[in-house]
C-alpha cells in the first residue's frame, strides 16, 4: 500500500447521514444520533476505508474486553511518526500536541450505554469475527454502522433494548463451516447485572 502521496482529499470523505435524529430506519427503530463534536475530527474513512486498516488494529481491546476502548495515544503516534508527509496537517498537529504534552485526548462517547446495561464487545467479536469468519467491517457495523464511511463516528443504529433483542432472536449460523444455527441469549441478567 502506498502511503506516500495518496490521491485523496482529507476533506472529501463521504458521510452518509441517514436522516434526521428520530427518523425511522429500515429496521424500524429511531436511529440516528446527533453529530458529536470531537477534539480531533478523526477520519475513520481515511483509515478504515482508504488505508483498509482493520478496525481491530486500533480498537484492539474489542476482542479481549467488554469495552472496545479508545486506542492508546502511543499507538496513533507509533504510526504517525513514520508518516512525515501528513505531519503538518492541522489534525495531526493537534495529535502531536497531546503527545508532546503527555495528555490524553478527551474524546466524546458516541455510543454510551446506560450504566445498567453491560454490553460485551469480546463475546460478539469472538463469535462473529473469529468463529464465523465474517468481515470485520460487517461485524462492527452491526451496531456501529458503516464507520469506515464516516469521518467522526455517529450513531446510526438504535441500540435500544428491543433492537438488541431483535438480533438475539435471529438465528445465526454457528460458524463458517457449521451450518447449525443458534440465537443470542435472552436472559435479562445477561445484560442487566
Amino acid at each position: 500500500m502506498a502511503l506516500v502521496g495518496a490521491s485523496y482529499s482529507i476533506n472529501a470523505e463521504p458521510f452518509k447521514a441517514g436522516g434526521a435524529p428520530g427518523t425511522q430506519t429500515i429496521d424500524g427503530y429511531n436511529a440516528l444520533g446527533p453529530q458529536v463534536e470531537q477534539p480531533i475530527e478523526f477520519p475513520h474513512y481515511t483509515h478504515a476505508n482508504v488505508m483498509k486498516i482493520n478496525c481491530m488494529y486500533c480498537h484492539t481491546y474489542a476482542r479481549r474486553s467488554a469495552v472496545s476502548g479508545i486506542p492508546r495515544l502511543d499507538k496513533c503516534i507509533g504510526c504517525h511518526k513514520m508518516i512525515p508527509e501528513v505531519r503538518d496537517r492541522p489534525r495531526i498537529k493537534k495529535l502531536f500536541w497531546y503527545w508532546d504534552n503527555h495528555k490524553s485526548i478527551p474524546w466524546k462517547k458516541v455510543h454510551d450505554l446506560p450504566d445498567f446495561v453491560r454490553f460485551n464487545h469480546e463475546r460478539h467479536i469472538q463469535r462473529f469475527y473469529f468463529q464465523d469468519k465474517r468481515p470485520v467491517r460487517e461485524v462492527c457495523g452491526y451496531c456501529h454502522g458503516d464507520v469506515a464511511n464516516m469521518t467522526t463516528a455517529r450513531r446510526v443504529k438504535a441500540i435500544s433494548m428491543g433492537w438488541c433483542i431483535d438480533c438475539h432472536k435471529k438465528d445465526h449460523q454457528i460458524s463458517a463451516v457449521n451450518l447449525k444455527t443458534t440465537n443470542g441469549p435472552n436472559d435479562c441478567w445477561m445484560c442487566h447485572k
Partner: protein, 741 residues
Amino acid sequence: MATEKKPVVDRRDFLKVLGISGAAATLAGCGNTSIESGVEKVQSYVQPEDFVVPGNSVFYASTCTQCQSNCGIMGRVREGRVLKLEGNPNSIISKGKICGLGQASIQVQYNPDRLTTPMIRDGESLVPATWDQAIKVINQGLGKDSQISGDEIIFLTNGVSGHQKVLIDNFLESYNSKNHIAYEALSNRVGETVRENLYGYSNPVQKVKDAKLIVSFGNDFLGSGVSPVFMATQYAQFRKAPRGTLIQIEPRMTLTGGNADRWYPIRPGTEGVFALGLANALVQHPEYDKTVPEELKLALKAYDKYTVGEITGINPDAIGHVVAMMWEKSPTLVLSGATAEGHKQGYQNAYAIELLNVILGNVGKTVTPPTENPFPQMNPINASYQSLVNLDNQLNTKKTKAMLIMGVNPIYTGPSFVDIKNKFKNVSLKIAMVTQLDETAEMCDVVLPLLSPVEEFGTHVASYQPEGIEISIQQPLMEKLHPHTKSFGDVLLVLLKERDPKNYSKYPDYYSYIREAVVKSKPVFKSSMTDDEFWDSALMNGVLHVPPKEAEFTKIKLNTADLPKAENKPLDVNYPFYFVPSIKADLRDGKHANLPWLQESPDPMTTVVWDSWVEIHPKTAEEMQIREGDILEVKSSMGSLMAKAYLFPGIQPNTISIPFGQGHSSYGRYANNRGVNPFKIINPITDEKTGELALFATRVQIIKTGNKEKVVKDEGPTTLQQGRKLVVTMAADQAELSKEV
C-alpha cells in the same frame, strides 16, 4: 500439572463468622434510560503498560491500614481507578480475605470531604494555602536553622510500624529528640503488659484453630480484636468437625459473643474473680492439681463458687459447667479482652485469665511464642492511653514548641477530664497531616493534605504475627486523585533533607527511601534476585515473609500478688448503672465514622444504623418503664449524653452501653452531628498497674427526658414490620439447610 488447591476455609465459612460483610454498594445509572451521544468523555491512555486492557481489571497487592492487623490486600483497578479491595492470598494474615472496615477504605480515597490543599491558620480560622506557603510556615519553626530540640518537639501518631515509624524516628533524631508519642484510645496495653510479664511476649500466638474449647472473657476476636480477619479464618476451622465450643463471658454481647455456644453476662470488672473461681474448681481435678504451686492453690481457696457467684452475678453452677468442659476438652484456649481489662483491676483481671492458660497446660500448645522479627526497628510502637497522659503532662510544662500530629484525633477521643484542646494553645506550631479535617486538625496551625492509603507507599508490621513475621508492602493502587496532596514521607523528607543533607539528599522521594529499605533487607531473605527483581517481587506479592521459628517460653512465674481481690463492690446509689461502651468492628474509636458504607452497615448485634443508641436490658427497661426510642440522658460524674433507648437482651441487667465512634463535630458530612461520643463521659479511673484508662469502669445514672424518636434499624421479626412478617428469621439449629438451598 498444577492441581487446584481447595481453600481450607471457603468464602461461606468465612462470611458466616464475619459481622460486617459486603459493605459494597451499587449505584445504578441514574435516570439514564437510553443511549447517549456526545455527553460523557472517554479518555484513552497515553502510554499504558502493555498488560492494561480497558474494561479488564488489573490487581495490585498492597496493605490495609484501616486497623493494626495490616492485612495484605489486592486492589482491583480499572481504567486507572481503584474500584474494589480484596484480600491478598499471599498474606499470612488475611489469607485472601478482608473485612468490611477494610472494604470501606476505598471511601477514604473518594471521600468528597477529603482535604485537597494545605490550610494555614489565619486568626480563628484555617484558610486554604499553597504548599510553598505551608512549608514556609513550617520552616519558620522547624526549618534548617531551627534550634528546637529534645522534648520541645512532639510527634504524635497512632501505633505506626514499618518504615513509617523508622522515618518518623529519623526525623525526630535530626532534632535530637526521641519524643514520638503513640496514642491509641482503644489500646490493648493492659493485656499486653500482663502477657509480657507472664510469658515474656506481649502478643504470643493464640491458636484458635487448634483449640477444642475457647473461653473468652470479653475478647471480641471476630469483631474488633487484634486481627479479626485472621481470627475469622481460624475460627471457621475451629468450628469444623469435630466442632469446637466457644464460651464467652462479658457484660455486653459482642459479635464474638453472638457466635458463642454459651454466653454469660457478667458484672463489669469482675471477670478476674470469675476466672479464679474457675481456677479454684479446676485444681480440684488431680491432673491440674499437680502443676499448681501450693501457695497459689491456697490463694485460690477464697474463690469458691458461691462467693464468685455473688460478686460476678453469674449463677454459681456455671463454674461447674465450664470446668467440666475444660476437663473434658483439650486443648483449650482462654482469652482476655477489652471489657475485662478496662478496669481499675484490669491488670489483675487479665492476669487471672491468663493464669487459666497456665493451669490448663495451654502454654506451648495453644499459646505459643511469636517469631522474632529480624527487623525490630520496624515493630509497631507501643501505643496507649498513657501516651495521652504523657502528652498532657508535656503540654502542661509549656515547653513544647512544635507538634506534628498524624493518624490520631485526641481532641475527639480524649476523655473530658484530659483537656488537650485548651492546652493546644500552649504550642506555637501545630502541624496536622490528614486526609480529611477532623476535630484535632481543626485546632492546628498548618494542616497538610496527605495521600490516601491507596495512593501511598509504605511497609507495615502488624503487632499480632500468627505465623512467622509478615512485612506487608503498601503501594499505590492508583495515581493520586488530588494534585495537591502529598505523601507523608515526602513531607518529612523535604524537612529532613534540609536538616541532614548528608544522609537524606540521596533520596529524591519517599518511594526511593522505601525501595532502598526493602532492597536492603534482601540478605535476610537469602534471595539471589537482583535488586530490581527483589523489589518487583515484593510489590507483586505484597508481602515479605519470615518463616516461623520454633521458640520456647522461658520459665513462667506465677505471682499471687497480682490476683484480683474477691470483694463485692456495692453500686453507687447516685450512679446505679455500669457503663460499658461497645467497640464496633467498623467505627472503632471513631476514626472511620467518615465512611458512609460503615455508617449504613447495620450494627451486627442491634442492626441500628447511622446513629448512637443506649442499650438497656428489657427487664431493667420494664422496671423503669422505658420503651424503645425513648430519649435517655446517660449521666456520669464527668458529663452526660442523650440517645435513644434500644432494648437489648444481650446485656447484663445493671449495665448500659453506647457504642463508640459517633458524636463528631468536625469530620465531614457523613460523621458530623450524628449520635454521641461516649469518651466524653468516661470517669477518670485508670488501671492501677499500667495507668491505662479504665474504659469500662464508669458508673452512670439514667434520666428519662420524656422525648421519643424512632430507632432506625434493620431488624427481623421482633418488630412489627408494618403488621406483617416481612422478613422472618429462624434459629440456625432449626433450619434444615439441605432443604433451604
